[in-house]
Structures are given as structure tokens and as C-alpha cells.
Amino acid sequence: MSQQSSHAATAGHHPKYLAHHFESMDQQNSSGKLGMWLFLAQEVLFFSGLFMAYILARIFYPETFLAAHELLDWKLGALNTVFLLTSSLTMALAVRGAQVNSQKQMYWNIVATLVLGAAFLVVKYFEYSHKLHDGLLPGHFFDAAKAMHNGVPANIPGAPAIFFAIYFVMTGTHGLHVLIGMGLMLWLLVRIKRGDFNSENHVYLENVGLYWHIVDLIWIFLFPLLYLVR
């Protein structure tokens, strides 16, 4: 127990944002954050299965990966990397805004993060629709003939269907996380407008931030693994 908490307890009044079962804001905030870090650990292991699938497919079909990644547009991937890195920055700044009690900084940085997240998804949409058009689809739906017809050199050795399955499953799962993050940010905006967050109480904002950074973190690995690797 820190000094603060015992003070809060003896003072007898309950701070506005303190839930009934906690003794102090410090306890409440650190609980929330610990919970979030545990959730992030869970996220890391959730994605581990996908990265494991990637590693195994690469062990089996190295030549496929070398050839197939050429069919992904690394420029779009790089653009998306910049989008996500910038959104991570704005997210970190939003948390800083809360720390220094600036409602404005909080609000506009979250808006910026939201916009960058949306930009990421728009680019992803263009990439996906391109693949769809060319028949570069996962598993059973992979259509080399259609791709060749569209002028895409899809005569790839090994198992291109597996490469595209992994590409779609990994980026799709990641994209879903981006979407969930954006939903959380909309909720944050509502709460910021309501004036819920200040330097004392912003663990929710911080937690959404942590989540958003882990989403960024996963993309930091996905980008070179899928788009760049030789």
C-alpha cells in the first residue's frame, strides 16, 4: 500500500472514478494496467500460432516464398508501415496528453490515430481487391491460370496456395485487430468528450494505447516477413 492509498482510505471519501471494490486510484490503475499486460501476453501467444505456421511453411517451401512475395506490392506494405508507426506515435502522444491533463491533445491525437488506422485499412482493401481480381487467393481458391491471364507471373514452384493462405490469414487477423482497435478508439472519443479522463484517471486510454502498440508491433514483423523477405 502506498501513502496515497492509505490517505484516501482514511479520508473516507470515495474518488469519483474509483470502483467500490478498490481502495485507491493507484490500486485501480495498476490493476487495470497489469490486466492489460497479461492480455497482451495472451495476444503474443495468439499470434504465435500464425507465425509458427509461417515458419513451417517457409521451412517446407523456401522457393515458394522467394517467388510469391514478389506478387505483393512492397510499396503499399511500406506505406502501411509508415501509417501504423505514425499512428503509434499519435497514440503515445494522446496518452501523454492525458498525463499533462490536456483534453485537446488527447482528443486530436486519438482522432489522428483513428484516421491513420482507417488509412491502413483502406490500403489493405486495395491490396485485397487486387489479389481477389487476380485470383491470388488462399488455399483451394488460388487460381494460377486466372493470375497468368491477368499478366501476373503466378507460375510459382512449391505451394503458392499455402503462401497466399498464410498471407491472408495473418494480415486478416491483424486487420481484424486494427478494426477492433478503431472501435475502441471511437469509444475513447466519446469518453474524452464526456470529460472522463484526466491526469489521475486515464488507465483506459493507456490500455487502448498498449493494445494499439501491440498491433503495430505485430505489423513490424509481418511487413518484412511477407513483403520483403529474400
Partner: protein, 562 residues
């Protein structure tokens, strides 16, 4: 019950006056006060009802499976008579029995029901760290369970609870709904785990240091760590399986260039640690029951607490012992076998410590203690037979035979479920405010013990003889042992049925329970039976360990004992 009909105003007044505060059961009324509750005790109780309900479902399925194996054997002649179920029906029955028992009963049994109820009480907290999340986990559990059972309506799944590919990616049965159900159940487990870890870290009462925690809390802590770290891998594995079925990823499907053995790695990376999710809470329960009823300090507190953590960590390193015959590489088999033996050491330490705790005590042989002794007996057999299966050469013979079936039933059923029922006897007075009938408690324990050993010991012999598992029928030479096993299962079922009866009786007209019927020293016994809504009248301050009983004679030499 009279006072409960009074208005909320009066209960609020009672709260200020102290002693007459209503219990958590009566503080709020109406169905909505249960369905939308964030009180960990009510959520724990709802979990308990869910778990016991699913236990009944899984138990009936088990009896059907056993009854099928009673019947005339079919050889390999053209005329295959079916005595009760067709091969397909039988396959669906054992699949459902396994899936229900593992995902809906054993995994949530002790952690989600008793853990939810007692963890905050033992820590001296008002609730778990995230009460709403806790309620959400419960509904995720119910939803996942419903989806899993929906697969019955949808034609039922026939892959075995392990969902091995490529059978599961090609089977025409309702794999997707079952897999989705288990996927969702996983998140219930993860969220509960997160909640418990944070609760243990942040919600301890003043003075409740780590070495003053009851061992049940330590066991829950280790369990939660595994739940958080292993369950997401199951989720992603099942997601990959579902995608494999629909679009054909090709990692597991040999037709697309994958390797089905990889699925087993993915699956057992979760499912072996899950074995420890199932057994560690039982260890915690046994530590509590034996200590309280021996009226002594637990023997080797730190060894037991840390061995839980050690088991949790080493438990992640041994999954390949499920795969010695699967076609995994020889190197992998050898490494996994070696590590498997490493996990046996902390388990042995626990068993020895429990027995040593009884030395020089003053044993109260109540029905909870009877169940704890049954646990020691059965779990020792379960643990020792694990040695056969961890050994590379011997496992080649025993793998996927009834020996394995018997082994994991001795651990899961003889271990976890016996401990769970024992724990219900121990904590029933606290949860319901009523005592259980001691005589019938012992009778049911006796039936469970005898029935269990008849059912499953004969299966060790069957397995050694070479009887493969998951067979809807078998060669005549196995019939005697199979019949013995089936009769045993009826006795086992009877034992649990008796338990159900006297539990209902206790709820209706059981003796009122005092606050601390077993004179225990951990915090959950320091509040009323049943506890008040916010657990304690005043914030407890902890000044002693959980097993500091008044009978302990500190003047005695610690070397000589009695």
C-alpha cells in the same frame, strides 16, 4: 427467511449495525439480480451450477459409452451386429463425452466456481479485480458450452476431443460448430486467468503477504498463468483448423502440401499445459483440506507453493510426449521424454508433503478428508502410471491403448474430480450456510472410490493386453475386463448420484452452518456463512499464516515429532 422479504432500506440499516447484515444470497432478490450480478460469489455459484449440469451430461455420456462396451463383441466377420450403437453413434458419444468433460467440466470446475468464490475471500478482498469482466467470462462460458452442445443437434461431431487433422478437416460431421464452441470457451478461460492473476497481485488485504497466502491461492495463481499463456494457442489452432476446413490453408492438410503431425504440435502445446490447468487447482484444494483437518502447519509450504509454479513452467516443455508414435522426429521424442520425467519431481514432492503433513496431527476424518485420502490414493496411481507412458520404449506399446485412458482418468477423474467433490464438502457450509450430511458423504465417497477403481483399474490391464482406445467393439478376449469396467462405472455413477441427493437435502433442510465449522484459519472462514455481499464486515488485517492452528504445540521439538 422472514427478514429477507423486508425492504432494501432495512437491509441497508442492518448493514450499518453490523451483525445482522444479509448474506450475499439474500442481499438482492429477483432473477435479474443473479443474471446481471458482478458479485464474485454469485458468479462462482452460477459457474458451479453450470459445471455440475455439464458434469451430469458428460457422466451420462460416459455411462452410455461404457454400456456399449458391455455388449457382445463383434469380430471381423462380415456380419457386424451392433448391440447398442452403431460405430458412428459411438464415435460421437465418446467425442462429446471427452469435449464436455474437458472443456466444460474439468477446466472450469475448481478455478471458475470455487476459485471465483474463494479467491477474493482468501485474500481479504471485496471482489475480484475486474467484476464485470468476470461476469462476461461466465456468459462466454455459457455461450461456448451452448455452441458445443448445439453441435449435437447439428449432427454431432465425431473427431474425438483432440480434433486431429486430417480427419477433422475432412469429416462431414459438425466440426465447425464444436470447434467454434471450444474457441469461445478458451476466451472465458483466458479472461478468468487474467482476472485471478491481477486479483492475487493487487487485491490482498493488509498483511496478506505472499508467504501467508493459502496454498489454494498459489495453485490458482500457477493455473492462471497457464491459462493466460497456453489457451490463446488453442484458440489460434482451432481457428486455423476451421479455416483449413473452409478454404484449405494447407499447413495441416497433406493433400495441399502440409503435414498433419504439425496439428498435434499446435494442439498439445496448449493441451498438455491444460492438463496442469486441470490438476493444479486440485493440488491446492488437497493442501487446504488435509492441513485444516490435520490441525497442523502444512509440511514444506514453500516447496508446495513453488512446485506449483515449477509444474506450470515445465508443463510447457513436455507436450511432445503425446506424440512418441506420431511420426515426430527421434530427437524430439528423446528431448520430450527427458523433460517429461523432470515434471515428475515437483509432483512427487507434493504427494510426499501431503502425507508428511498428516504425521503427528490430530486428524478429523470428515467426508472432505475422506475424499482427500481417496485423492491421494488415486492420484498416486495416476501419477505413477504416467512413468510408463513417459518412457520411450514402453510408451510405444501402451500409446493409444486403454492404459492411456485409465491413466488420464486416474489423474483427471480420480484426481481433479475427487478433489473437486471433496472441496465442495469442505466449503459447502461457507457457500450455502448449510451443513452436509457427514454419514452419507462417507457412503458416497466409498462408492465413488470402489466404483472408480473397478472402472479404471481394469482398463490398465486392458491396455497392457493391447486393447486400443476409441473402439466401438472389440475382440472377445477383452470382454471380461470390459464388463468389469462397465459394472464399476455404474457403481461410480451411483456414488455421485448419492452426493447429488444429500446436497439437495442439505439445501432444503440441512443443519445451519456456523461461520467456521472446521476451525480453519484462512480468511474465508472469518466472515459469516454464507458471507455478506461485500465479504467482510470490516477490512481484515492479516497477522498470521493460513495454517496457524491453536492445537499446534510449539513447545514440542520439531525434530522428534510425537
Amino acid at each position: 427467511m422472514e427478514s429477507n422479504r423486508n425492504s432494501q432500506l432495512q437491509s441497508a440499516q442492518a448493514a450499518t449495525s453490523g451483525g445482522a447484515e444479509p448474506s450475499y444470497l439474500t442481499a438482492k432478490r429477483g432473477i435479474w439480480s443473479w443474471l446481471a450480478t458482478v458479485d464474485h460469489k454469485r458468479i462462482g455459484l452460477m459457474y458451479l451450477v453450470g459445471v455440475l449440469g455439464f458434469f451430469a451430461v458428460g457422466g451420462i455420456l460416459a455411462l452410455l459409452v461404457r454400456t456399449q462396451l458391455l455388449g457382445p463383441t463383434t469380430g471381423f466377420s462380415a456380419a457386424k451386429q451392433e448391440w447398442l450403437f452403431s460405430g458412428d453413434t459411438y464415435n460421437k458419444l465418446f467425442t462429446l463425452h471427452g469435449a464436455v468433460m474437458v472443456f466444460l467440466v474439468i477446466i472450469p470446475s475448481i478455478p471458475a466456481s470455487l476459485g471465483n468464490f474463494f479467491l477474493p475471500l482468501m485474500l481479504g478482498a471485496k471482489d475480484v479485480a475486474f467484476p464485470k469482466l468476470n461476469l462476461m467470462s461466465f456468459y462466454i462460458y455459457i455461450f461456448g458450452g451452448a455452441l458445443l452442445l448445439f453441435s449435437i443437434y447439428d449432427g454431432a461431431v465425431d473427431t474425438g476431443w483432440t480434433f486431429y487433422t486430417p480427419y477433422s478437416s475432412s469429416s462431414s460431421s459438425s466440426v465447425v460448430s464444436a470447434v467454434l464452441g471450444v474457441f469461445i470457451l478458451g476466451f472465458s478461460s483466458i479472461l478468468t486467468g487474467i482476472n485471478f492473476i491481477v486479483t492475487i497481485h493487487k487485491m490482498r488485504a493488509p498483511g496478506q503477504t505472499w508467504i501467508r497466502l493459502p496454498l489454494f491461492v498459489w495453485a490458482q495463481y500457477a493455473t492462471s498463468v497457464i491459462q493466460v499463456l497456453a489457451t490463446p494457442v488453442l484458440a489460434i489452432t482451432l481457428m486455423l483448423l476451421a479455416i483449413e476446413r473452409t478454404i484449405g490453408v494447407g499447413i495441416f492438410d497433406p493433400k495441399l502440401g502440409g503435414d498433419p503431425v504439425l496439428f498435434q504440435h499446435f494442439f498439445w502445446f496448449y493441451s498438455h499445459p491444460a492438463v496442469y490447468i486441470m490438476i493444479l487447482p486440485a493440488f491446492g484444494v488437497i493442501s487446504e483440506i488435509i492441513t485444516v483437518n490435520s490441525r497442523k502447519e502444512i509440511f514444506g509450504y514453500k516447496a508446495i507453493a513453488l512446485s506449483s509454479v515449477a509444474i506450470a513452467v515445465i508443463g510447457f516443455l513436455v507436450w511432445g510426449h503425446h506424440m512418441f508414435t506420431s511420426g515426430q522426429s527421434e530427437l524430439a521424442s528423446a528431448v520430450f521424454s527427458f523433460l517429461t520425467f523432470a515434471v515428475a519431481v515437483p509432483t512427487a514432492i507434493k504427494v510426499f508433503s501431503w502425507v508428511a503433513t498428516m504425521y503427528g496431527g490430530s486428524l478429523r476424518m470428515n467426508s472432505a478428508m475422506w475424499y482427500a485420502q481417496a485423492f491421494l490414493f488415486l492420484f498416486t496411481i495416476g501419477g505413477l502410471t504416467g512413468l510408463f507412458l513417459g518412457t520411450l520404449s514402453v510408451d510405444i506399446h501402451l500409446h493409444d491403448t486403454y492404459f492411456v485412458v485409465a491413466h488420464f482418468h486416474y489423474v483427471m477423474m480420480g484426481g481433479t474430480m475427487t478433489a473437486f467433490v471433496g472441496a465442495l464438502h469442505h466449503w459447502w457450509p461457507k457457500m450455502t450456510g448449510r451443513m452436509l450430511n457427514e454419514f452419507w458423504g462417507k457412503v458416497s465417497c466409498f462408492f465413488v472410490f470402489v466404483g472408480f477403481n473397478l472402472t479404471f483399474f481394469s482398463q490398465f490391464l486392458l491396455g497392457t493386453k493391447g486393447m486400443p482406445r476409441r473402439y466401438a467393439n472389440y475382440l472377445p478376449e477383452f470382454q471380461n475386463l470390459h464388463q468389469l469396467s462397465t459394472y464399476g462405472s455404474y457403481i461410480l455413477g451411483l456414488g455421485f448420484f448419492i452426493t447429488l441427493l444429500y446436497m439437495i437435502q442439505s439445501l432444503i433442510n440441512g443443519k445451519k452452518a456456523p461461520a467456521n465449522p472446521w476451525e480453519a484459519k484462512s480468511l474465508e472462514w472469518e466472515t459469516d456463512s454464507p458471507p455478506i455481499e461485500h465479504n467482510f464486515h470490516t477490512q481484515p488485517i492479516v497477522t498470521h499464516g493460513p495454517y496457524d492452528f491453536p492445537e499446534i504445540d510449539h513447545s514440542m521439538s520439531t525434530r522428534g515429532g510425537h
